[in-house]
Amino acid sequence: MTSPAVVQAPPAEQRAVVDGPPVARPAALPEARSGVAHLVPVVPSSTRRRTVPRWVRRPIGPLLLLLLWQVAVWTGTAGTDLLASPATVVRTLGHLTADGELGGAIAVSLERVGKGILIGGIAGISLALLAGLFRTGEDLIDASVQMLRTVPFVGLIPLFIIWFGIGETPKVALVALGVAFPLYLNTYAGVRNVDAGLVEAARTLGLSRFGLIRHVILPGALPNVLVGVRYSLGIAWLALVFAEQINANRGIGQLMMDAQEFQRTDVILACLVVYAFLGLAVDAIVRLLERGLLSWRPAFSGS
């Protein structure tokens, strides 16, 4: 292979010697060809390797982790009073669901997070649109938001308790605050990153300012807005967990606080599992939304 200039073909019977081990060549290659000894075969990816399908490979890691956990509890490496086994957690989930306690708690928590997302979403997106679309809006809004976003919102809990008491309001407010910033940042960036060439082309087509916003800028910003939505929904659950530590008398947080009193690690873990699944479910909804709204996008989807 070091001297590709030599194109002279060795006779067929000599080729095996020149080629080296015949194992390297796929069986599909026709044997009667001469003059190819110095060439490297391009192997079709379908024949390259018989691999385990991706949907089988993906869950192996998490399942191994679960197994490790179960084994650790069985062998006593982790005491049952410190860490309940996966089996116990599943059983606890069953009990909590059966007596309706979990369902009620989820409903309460979902209401909190839903209200927070709604309020924070409206605030974040409308501020971003004002700042993104209008120069005056940018001057008035952007500097303040950029300043406030550096404040860790969880740090505002004491202040919120003083302002809003310990009822539902501080919890919803905390979620709203957590949601608003990522949505603002992504929406604003989305509006500002709309392809200037498209805006120019749209202007030559005679679109009015309103038409330009509706047909060019908003759809152009949409991919970024949806990134913001996914990010902020993640933050929403985080904010909820923090918020529900504030004197919760209902909801998943209250279940967890009670469990802590009685050292019920199985209930705590069951609640964490519930949080995780709620987060996953919401993420799946956003993915579905993306698939529907962004089907026009020529984006790279991984190979």
């Binding site: 498209l198 749209a202 030559t204 005679g206 047909h215 759809p219 026009w296 996008r297």
Partner: protein
């Protein structure tokens, strides 16, 4: 079809807004200027100046384009030809001088600039008054041979198809002035020939005035009624291309014109291949 040219308002340098009544009354000429035989003009430019910082790209440029004429604007890279086109498209208004263009004008850019989130037919009728008219889009797409792709997303179009969609989008507006900014620049050689032919046929049918910016002399001579060479911020040379259509690149007159234009563009050695 009233030929009323719209004055491009220059908020920076020209404090006087609105449409000059002189524009309606046959464009009373500046001193020393003789109007061409057809009194209707599609472009009338007097003393146009455009500077970027201290760099004057267009310096007291005059230009008239009669209605329906196919004009090709040639020039070396950076000579200001695209700037002139952008000014005529009303995309660049930081200008001095007097520029008049028809209210109905359309632009096709070098890249198609289709909105990726709108299907092909919606891209074509975008910006037209009223509800999106599917039939009208279909008619325009049929003219460029793309009626079958009306429902496609722009991402699924080939380069040539996207550029043809962009042409359909320009023509559906029935422009009096069609501005083409190197619309074949990004196409491969074969697609380019087809696209040139298409532009020529569309022009023959609709007869808008066309200003095509290019740096390809052969393309200019295949298509133009008149070829302009831009240099040092003005139209340095204008030549009428009196060749019968369709044109033959091997014709001696064609070759002579081509050599002359290449010389004016600073390419002295006659090239055997374009």
């Amino acid at each position: 079809m009233a030929s009323s040219l719209q004055r491009i308002v220059t908020p920076v340098l020209d404090p006087e807004p609105g449409i000059d009544p002189a524009a309606e009354a046959g464009l009373e000429p500046a001193s020393g200027y003789r109007p061409p035989a057809d009194p209707r003009l599609a472009v009338s430019v007097r003393g146009l100046t455009r500077a970027f910082a201290s760099n004057t790209v267009i310096d007291r440029l005059d230009l008239d384009v009669p209605a329906g004429q196919f004009v090709v604007l040639l020039g070396a890279s950076g000579c200001g030809k695209s700037t002139l086109l952008r000014i005529l498209a009303d995309l660049d208004t930081e200008i001095g001088g007097d520029v008049r263009v028809p209210a109905r004008r359309a632009v096709a850019f070098q890249s198609p600039r289709l909105l990726p989130w709108k299907r092909v037919w919606r891209n074509v009728v975008l910006g037209l008054p009223g509800r999106p008219d599917r039939a009208r889009a279909a008619a325009a797409l049929a003219e460029v041979g793309l009626e079958a792709r009306a429902e496609a997303w722009p991402k699924t179009l080939s380069g040539g198809e996207a550029q043809r969609t962009s042409l359909a989008r320009a023509l559906v507006r029935e422009p009096e002035l069609l501005l083409l900014d190197e619309p074949f620049g990004a196409l491969d050689a074969l697609t380019r020939l087809k696209a040139q032919d298409l532009v020529w046929r569309l022009w023959r049918r609709h007869r808008p005035a066309v200003l095509l910016v290019t740096h390809d002399v052969e393309e200019a001579l295949l298509l133009a009624d008149r070829a302009l060479v831009m240099k040092d911020g003005v139209i340095a040379h204008s030549v009428d291309v009196d060749l019968s259509r369709p044109r033959d690149v091997g014709d001696p007159t064609f070759l002579a014109l081509r050599a002359d234009l290449l010389g004016r563009l600073g390419v002295d050695a006659p090239r055997s291949v374009a």
